[in-house]
Each structure stands twice: as structure tokens, then as C-alpha cells.
């Protein structure tokens, strides 16, 4: 794997025609002994002891003296004018200190509106009208949680209901305007394109076969088991705001708060403590956070706001809600030549998805996927509706989930249309290993990949050919069995500074490592784990580089007062960015360590070589200094003229994104009586490059697969025609239990990233991206012979039942 000591070297700017084929293996590399426990070890997590004993510190566990509680009055209408808000009864209640309305926030300095992460604006609290069901109307501050809950029942709001805007196609007609605060009275927000329209049209004109299909990927909600919340603690004497917050990106949030509130950034501390799951849902700035901070500012006391599950499901950021029209072209040999996609993005009442700012449709243009095709053109339009804002909060990798769903479904439809086995069809259309780095028709440069190896492996694990035989036999008897494949290419690690920023802040990430005299270390990062195991994996990366036992490295994240600036953890970016920063910082330390070792051993730098945890004299390994000896010397015996200490910080600007990939195969059996889809087997072969901790990678994949199964068969946010959320509690928003979730079977290949310092790619969202089309393809495959070509997810029993009965199939 490439050794990159100088940042300038890790570009993949190779000339045209030069292949950088990276070899694929499937054995996890382990180079350090157990006592050091570097990369590749199945190390038990360092963070677990506190969680296992109930000693985690989540936001709702924070208790500060004199703390007050906030609860929020919410709109029962999706679209309505606010005629009046009468909080007098609430204010008379014992224990109620204040009621904060939009008017109050306006008077406090126009705080009733805030910027979104896409540079749109969103109401913090409304004055004139509400634009989504469960929108925040006003907040009550009280001395106890229970009194606050009573008080919100005593606030009386007079609404004049307006027509809701629920259907995004209707919204485009501009009959009812959602955002009349805007100068231009339209619901159309933006139009975005990628690829070459002319070249694509040409390819379609020449095509021997064209398949067309429409897909609706409905709105879903991440529903991490911990909801969102904050404790804001304004200290009037110090003019200092301390905030505990469920935040996946504490530094970015601090900067946004500073800009919005006017409190200087050095007087704001955001602490993101233990977070009970994020998955993108804890990236946006919700109105509740802003109101809570203002409440503390105004009262001078700590204020806690923890949302209920219902509030979380009904008002917080969603994911998906893409209406897709796709066409795929193939030549006379059945080779895929082009892709044409039009999409309508239902954004809700503000453009607030946490995408990098130049990407209103995220990384959607990755949609040519794993296939080598000549041309593609993608268009997306964003539209306002009277629903909560958002778009990428469900482990979605910036719209890659939608892109992959579309292309994997289309490839499958094309294969079936041509009468080819879907696995064989993919194998002959894949980008070949020798084509990497691969320039896609929409401008991506894929770093490395070996799609055929992954698919072949998945097929082997499952004995795919035998299953196809079984399917044929069953079909002859009228039994419905399906096999679905998804061979996805993911794109993560946002991102290089030339293209990526959030609200202007570049998307580097950072690591700061400091080694103490006694050879122990502290490492702080700009990311923030919400369960991904950074306290363990980052320590393993550093252990690999510096030979310090990973147990001797204390990893910290989440406190903006101490951690170096970073953009946080989401979109599977931590390993690609902060993981790389850890390597680079470690290598800076190693460079200094070498000089100290040379000084201690009284040799020249060039006489030394590194061996796992020590510098030793070439040809004379007994003459060596361990990293611990070097660390001690850094404080007690460093060379004259050299600074003491042994530490470094690195802000890593990735040269490219990374491209994890995989092949998933799903086997389903369909109950002809009830329409239920039973997942019999699901094999997932993932390639995330070099693996830091296989135990943790497996956990990430299992979790992502269940979050891929969920929207495929169970979860959907449903609105009625008045914009009321019908699935606003866990009673109807169907998060899978251990019974619905299958026993996932995993395999792996390892094709490192040539530009990442340790060849790792990131993996957290691959399964959520890859799984839904595998499941959808399996169900359609089971029913193809009946004339079924597409079923939109979630594939619920009533949907399947309807198709069966329409096609004369019953129990």
C-alpha cells in the first residue's frame, strides 16, 4: 500500500491511459502484534465499558444546577396563518418562567429566521404563518419537565388554515405558494444538471434497446433511538454560552451559532457528549436548538430541551422523497451505453438538506454506478412543499442511496428485458479493474474498484446458480421465489476543498496527537462518533503508525474548546478525512521522532529504519529506541535547537473522494396469500479498502443493512391530503425489530484506495445504499414472469397482494 509521507504525492493525477490497477485481496492485513493492536485487529471497543454499565453521558443525562426545561407548542396544520398566540394562561401557571414566540425572537435581533445549511432560510418561530405540520409555534420555559408539558396545553393559538401543498408536482404549478417570504413567488427552488445532454441524446438515438421506468423513493425518518436535544447554559458573568447538544458536527454548529446569534465564537463552547445514534439526523440545526439557546441567554439559567419521539418523527429532517424518471440505453449487444434521469426533489418547506453547498442534489450524479457507459445526463429540480425541511438524514451518503436504487433497478430491468441473467449482465457491463482510476460520464474519478470480484464472491457464498435452478423449479409449481442483486458504487469522504464546502467552510478534517513523557498519548479529532467506534479505530490507526499500543491512546471528540476544527461525522467521511489526518499527524510525529532517535543513538537520520514501534540502526537492530523512549526524551533529552514535546496536528484536505463498493444478493419468498415478502437469505460482500477493525466494520454493515431493509419493506412517512403526518409515532413508523431483521451474511474483498494514506475508504453507509435495490430487485424478479416490472419501496404486503391478484395469482 502506498506510503505517503509527503502530501503532494497522494494525488491520483495519472496521465490518460495509465492504469493504476490496485490489486484486490480478501485477507485483512495485520502488521502489528496484539499488544500494540494496530490495523486489522478485531479489537474490543475501548468505549464500551461505560455504555455497558449505564455510565454513558448523553445530553438528557446532563443535569446542571438551576436547570429549566423547555417544551414546544406545535402546529396541527401543515399550512395556516397565525392570527394570534395567547400564552396568558400558561404564563400564570406556577413554575412557568417564560413563553418565547416569533415576535420575541424578532425583537431579540431578527432571530426568528435562520440560515439553513444550503444557504436558504428557515423559520425558527413563525410570526405570519406555519408551513408544516408539527412546526414549532412557541416555546414554554418552566422549572420542571412536567410543568412545561402542562403549560404547552395552556397556550391557545388561533389559526386560519390554508391549503396544504403536499404533492410536489402540484407544487410546481405554483397555485399555492409555500414561501411567500421570498421575492420570487414560486415553489421551484433550484434546477441542477450533470453530464452531457447532447452526447446522451445521441446515444439514445442510436440505441437498440431503451428501457424506461419511474421510481418514487418515499420520505423516511432516521429515528435514532436517542432523539435530539440540548442543554444550553449561558453564563452572564462570563458572557459565555456553553451548549451540550446532540450534534454530529459541533464545530460547524458553533460557527453557525456565532453567525446567527452574534455571540462571539470564542465565547461559545459546544460539547457533543455521547450521542445515541446520528445517521444524519443530528446534522441539521433545528429550531428547538436555537430557541433553547435564546432561552438560556434570556433567563441566564441552564435550559434543557429534549424532544419527544413524536416531535422527532414529525418535525425533524427526513431523507429521500425523490420522484425519479429514468431511461437506460443499450446497444445491439445489450451493452449499456447511456442513462438519462429526470428527478423531482421534494424538499419540504426550506432547502435545508445538509449537502455540500454546490450540490443541491448531493452526489446524485454518481448514478451511472458500476457500469461503463458512454454518456449520461441527470437533471434534478427542487421544490417546496408544506412539509418539514431536510433530505439527507438517513445514512444516505448525500443522495447516493437514491442514485444507486435507480441504476441498480434499471440494470435489472434491462437484464430481464433482454432475457439475460442479472448477474451475468452485470459482469459484462461492469467497469473493469484495469479501467481505474475511472472517469465517469458525469465527471467522477473513481479511485479503485473490482466489481467482478465482489459479485463473483457473493455468488459463490450463496451458490447462486443452484438458487436459479431452484427458482425455476419453484416457478413451475407456481411458487414465488426471487433473487435480487445490487452491485453498487458508493462515493464518500467529502471532500476536496476545490469542490466541497458547507456554508463556505471547506470539508477538510483534522487530528491532533500529543504524546506524553511516559509514552501515552491523547488524540483529538474534528469528527464526532455517534456509535461508529472512533475511540477504538482512530487509536488503532495511530498505533499502526507509531507503535504505541492502542490502549495507550486516548481519543477525544466533540468538545469545540479542545478538539481541532472539523466538519463532523456523516456521509461516511470520518475514515477518509479524519482517519487520513490521523495518519498524516502521526507521520509528522514520526519524522520528529526519527531525529530524536538519531540524537539518542548518535547516528545520522539516514542510518535509521522504522520497525513497528521503534527506530533501529540499519543492519544493527539491537541499537534501537522505542517510541516510548523517544517520547520521554522529547521532554528530557531532546536535541539542542529542537522544540521539546512530541505532537502534531493535521488538517487533511482529501485529494478526491473514495469509492467503496460491493455486491449484495437477496433471496426472497413471497406468500401468495398475504403478499408478505420473506427475506430467506441476504449476502453482502463489501469492499471498503483496508480495514481498520473488522469487528467494527461488520457491525457497521449489519446496522446499515437493517437500515436498508427498513425502507425497503417497512418504513415510510405518510401524509394525508392536508399535509398531516399519519406515521408520526413508532406505533406506525415501522422500525424493524430483531425478528424482521434477517441474519445477515457477510463477505469481503479489499481493494485499497490509492490516494488515501492507509488505503481505507469508509463503510458506514454502503449497506443502506446497496440493500434496497437488492431487495426490490428480488421481489420484482419473483414476479417478472407475471408481467411486473417495478414496485416502489416500501414493498408492503398490500402492494404485493394487489399485483398478485391483478395477475390472477392467489393462495
Amino acid at each position: 500500500m502506498p506510503q505517503l509521507d509527503d502530501r503532494k504525492e497522494h494525488h491520483s493525477e495519472l496521465g490518460d491511459g495509465v492504469s493504476a490497477q490496485v490489486p484486490t485481496t480478501d485477507e485483512v492485513q495485520i502488521k502489528t502484534p496484539e499488544k500494540i493492536c494496530g490495523m486489522g485487529h478485531r479489537k474490543k471497543r475501548k468505549e464500551d465499558p461505560r455504555f455497558l454499565q449505564g455510565k454513558g453521558n448523553y445530553v438528557d443525562d446532563v443535569k446542571l444546577p438551576g436547570m429549566l426545561y423547555m417544551d414546544i407548542v406545535r402546529s396541527p396544520y401543515a399550512h395556516a396563518k397565525i392570527k394570534s398566540i395567547d400564552a396568558s394562561a400558561a404564563l400564570e401557571m406556577d413554575g412557568v418562567l417564560a413563553v418565547i414566540t416569533g415576535e420575541d425572537l424578532k425583537a431579540a435581533g431578527d432571530l426568528h429566521w435562520m440560515p439553513t445549511l444550503m444557504s436558504d432560510t428557515q423559520m425558527v418561530l413563525p410570526i405570519d404563518k406555519v408551513v408544516y405540520y408539527a412546526q414549532e409555534i412557541c416555546a414554554v420555559i418552566a422549572t420542571s419537565r412536567y410543568i412545561a408539558a402542562d403549560a404547552i396545553e395552556q397556550v391557545f393559538v388561533d389559526y386560519e388554515p390554508l391549503e396544504a401543498v403536499v404533492d410536489p408536482f402540484e407544487a410546481l404549478k405554483d397555485n399555492v405558494i409555500v414561501r411567500d417570504d421570498k421575492e420570487e413567488k414560486t415553489n421551484h427552488i433550484w434546477h441542477w444538471e450533470a453530464g452531457d445532454k447532447a452526447a446522451t441524446d445521441a446515444v439514445f438515438n442510436d440505441a437498440a434497446t431503451v428501457v424506461k421506468e419511474k421510481f418514487y423513493i418515499p420520505r423516511i425518518h432516521v429515528s435514532s433511538i436517542e432523539t435530539c436535544g440540548m442543554v444550553a447554559n449561558y453564563n452572564k458573568a462570563r458572557e459565555h454560552m456553553q451548549i451540550y447538544m446532540t450534534s454530529q458536527a459541533p464545530h460547524a454548529h458553533r460557527t453557525v451559532f456565532a453567525l446567527v446569534s452574534g455571540i462571539p465564537e470564542h465565547k461559545i463552547q459546544i460539547i457533543s457528549p455521547d450521542i445515541g445514534g446520528g445517521f444524519g439526523g443530528k446534522v441539521p440545526v433545528y429550531p428547538g436548538y436555537v430557541i433553547c439557546a435564546v432561552a438560556s441567554l434570556v433567563t441566564g439559567k441552564p435550559v434543557k430541551w429534549i424532544e419527544d419521539r413524536s416531535e422527532n418523527l414529525q418535525a425533524d429532517s427526513f431523507a429521500r422523497d425523490y420522484h425519479i424518471e429514468a431511461e437506460m440505453a443499450a446497444d445491439k449487444d445489450g451493452r449499456i451505453t447511456g442513462l438519462r434521469v429526470k428527478t423531482l426533489s421534494d424538499c419540504g418547506a426550506a432547502d435545508a438538506a445538509a449537502n455540500p453547498s454546490k450540490f443541491p442534489a448531493g452526489l446524485y450524479s454518481i448514478c451511472t454506478g458500476s457500469y461503463d457507459m458512454k454518456a449520461a445526463h441527470v437533471e434534478v429540480d427542487g421544490v417546496y412543499t408544506t412539509k418539514p425541511p431536510g433530505g439527507v438524514a438517513y445514512r444516505c451518503s448525500f443522495r447516493v442511496t437514491e442514485a444507486v436504487h435507480m441504476v441498480e433497478r434499471m440494470a435489472d430491468i434491462m437484464a430481464h428485458e433482454l432475457g439475460e441473467d442479472p448477474a451475468d449482465y452485470r459482469l459484462r457491463n461492469f467497469i473493469r479493474p484495469d479501467q481505474f482510476p475511472y472517469k465517469s460520464p458525469t465527471g467522477w474519478e473513481y479511485d479503485s474498484g473490482n466489481y467482478e470480484a465482489a459479485l463473483n464472491k457473493a455468488m459463490d457464498i450463496l451458490d447462486y446458480r443452484a438458487l436459479r435452478k431452484e427458482q425455476a423449479e419453484k416457478r413451475a409449481k407456481g411458487e414465488l421465489m426471487g433473487i435480487g442483486i445490487s452491485s453498487f458504487t458508493e462515493v464518500v469522504g467529502a471532500g476536496p476543498s476545490k469542490d466541497y464546502d458547507i456554508l463556505g467552510i471547506k470539508m477538510f478534517d483534522s487530528a491532533e496527537i500529543r504524546i506524553h513523557p511516559t509514552g501515552k498519548a491523547m488524540a483529538r479529532f474534528g469528527t464526532k462518533s455517534q456509535g461508529q467506534g472512533h475511540e477504538t479505530t482512530y487509536a488503532q490507526i495511530i498505533a499502526e503508525e507509531l507503535g504505541l499500543p492502542s490502549d495507550d491512546i486516548e481519543v477525544e471528540e466533540g468538545d469545540t474548546d479542545t478538539a481541532p476544527y472539523g466538519l463532523g461525522t456523516y456521509a461516511s467521511r470520518s475514515t477518509p478525512t479524519a482517519g487520513a489526518a490521523a495518519v498524516m499527524a502521526a507521520r509528522k510525529i514520526k519524522a520528529k521522532a526519527k531525529k530524536i532517535a538519531a540524537h539518542l543513538l548518535e547516528v545520522g537520520d539516514d542510518d535509521l529504519e522504522w520497525n513497528i514501534d521503534r527506530f533501529q540502526v540499519k543492519g544493527s537492530p539491537d541499537q534501537a529506541k522505542t517510541i516510548q523512549e523517544i517520547a520521554f526524551a522529547a521532554y528530557t533529552n531532546h536535541p539542542q535547537g529542537m522544540e521539546a514535546g512530541l505532537e502534531a496536528v493535521d488538517y487533511y484536505d482529501p485529494p478526491n473522494l473514495t469509492f467503496p463498493f460491493g455486491s449484495y444478493i437477496c433471496v426472497v419468498d413471497i406468500d401468495k396469500g398475504t403478499g408478505e415478502v420473506k427475506v430467506r437469505r441476504f449476502v453482502a460482500v463489501d469492499d471498503c479498502g483496508h480495514i481498520i477493525n473488522p469487528l467494527i466494520v461488520e457491525g457497521q454493515i449489519h446496522g446499515g443493512l437493517t437500515m436498508g431493509l427498513a425502507p425497503s419493506l417497512y418504513e415510510e412517512i405518510v401524509y394525508d391530503e392536508h399535509g398531516q403526518n399519519l406515521t408520526g409515532t413508532l406505533a406506525d413508523y415501522l422500525v424493524p425489530t430483531a425478528v424482521e431483521s434477517p441474519k445477515w451474511e457477510l463477505g469481503k474483498t479489499i481493494t485499497p484506495s490509492p490516494h488515501h494514506p492507509i488505503g481505507a475508504k469508509g463503510v458506514g453507509e454502503s449497506p443502506t445504499v446497496g440493500a434496497p435495490p437488492a431487495i426490490a430487485n428480488a421481489v420484482v424478479d419473483a414476479l417478472w414472469h407475471l408481467g411486473v416490472r417495478n414496485i416502489d419501496i416500501p414493498i408492503t404486503p398490500p402492494k404485493v397482494w394487489k399485483l398478485l391478484r391483478e395477475n390472477g395469482v392467489t393462495d
Binding site: L52, S224, S310
Partner: protein, 162 residues
């Protein structure tokens, strides 16, 4: 309206507090007793993050009033590691990576504790059904099942007179 004195045993220790009748057991445990290992994850009795043992039975403490627990014996996650030594379930969750964010974990362990006491040699299917009242978003459940299997084996081995 009515305030009541509640006396109960929590993790072996007797406590007495005065509470409103409507105080939910989960709030009593977290706020009045400052035992924050038991978590709140929903408002429709759906997620099980609040599971504690009441008189040995795992119940969702968000769907019970503290006054109902008057005179009861309650065990929370904080009481599971006896004398500082991890319980086989805690060991199993650690060994097998049965937790990621840790939020559902206390509830899972309390449910599993009673489950294994009644079904010491369960099948995988029985385990999955046994924890079907506890939602997890992070793990995909595979490794929670393995953690419980690990604990079952260890408990059997310990019981076998090691």
C-alpha cells in the same frame, strides 16, 4: 394532584421519595434517583430503551407510574455488574460488539437477563423473539444475538460448577 411516598429497593438499596402520582417510573429512576443508565427512546411504549427489572420482570418503565412500584424490587443496568465484575451479558456484548451508540444497550441487557434466566439454552429464533420489544438502530441485531448466545454459554458453564 396527589403526592405519594414511595419506598422501593433499587439495585439492592432501599430508597424513599415523595412523588406526584403521575411521575413515570423512568423519570423517577433517571431524575429522582439520578440513575441515568435507563434511557427514553419513544413515547408509544415501542422501543424498550427504558427496560428495567421490576420484581425480576423486565418492563418498560415509561409505561408504569413510580407509585405502582411502591414496595417493589427494581434492578437497573447500574446494578448488573455485581461487586464490580461484569455480568456475562455485559461481557458478551463487549466481546461480540453487541453495541455501537450504546443507547438501547441497557434495555437490551435487562431484557436478556430475564430471558436467559427463563430460557438458558435458547435458539436464535427464540432470542430474536425475546428481544423483539427492544429496538436498535445501530447494530442490525446480528451481534446482539451473538452477545446473548455468548452469555448463555457462559452462564451454563458457570452454573455447571466451574
Amino acid at each position: 394532584m396527589s403526592e405519594h411516598e414511595v419506598t422501593l429497593t433499587i439495585n439492592g438499596e432501599s430508597v424513599t421519595r415523595s412523588v406526584e402520582a403521575r411521575t413515570l417510573l423512568v423519570h423517577f429512576i433517571r431524575e429522582d434517583l439520578s440513575l441515568t443508565g435507563t434511557h427514553i427512546g419513544c413515547d408509544t411504549t415501542s422501543c424498550g430503551a427504558c427496560t428495567v427489572l421490576v420484581c425480576g420482570k423486565p418492563v418498560k418503565s415509561c409505561t408504569m407510574f413510580a407509585v405502582q412500584a411502591n414496595g417493589a424490587d427494581i434492578e437497573t443496568i447500574e446494578g448488573v455488574a455485581a461487586g464490580g465484575e461484569l455480568h456475562p451479558l455485559q461481557e458478551g456484548f463487549w466481546e461480540k460488539h453487541g453495541l455501537q451508540c450504546g443507547y438501547c444497550t441497557p434495555g437490551m441487557i435487562m431484557t436478556a437477563k430475564d430471558f436467559l434466566a427463563n430460557n438458558p439454552n435458547p435458539t436464535e429464533d427464540e432470542i430474536r423473539h425475546g428481544i423483539s420489544g427492544n429496538l436498535c438502530r445501530c447494530t442490525g441485531y446480528n451481534k446482539i444475538v451473538e452477545a446473548i448466545q455468548y452469555a448463555a454459554e457462559k452462564l451454563q458453564a458457570d452454573a455447571g460448577g466451574e
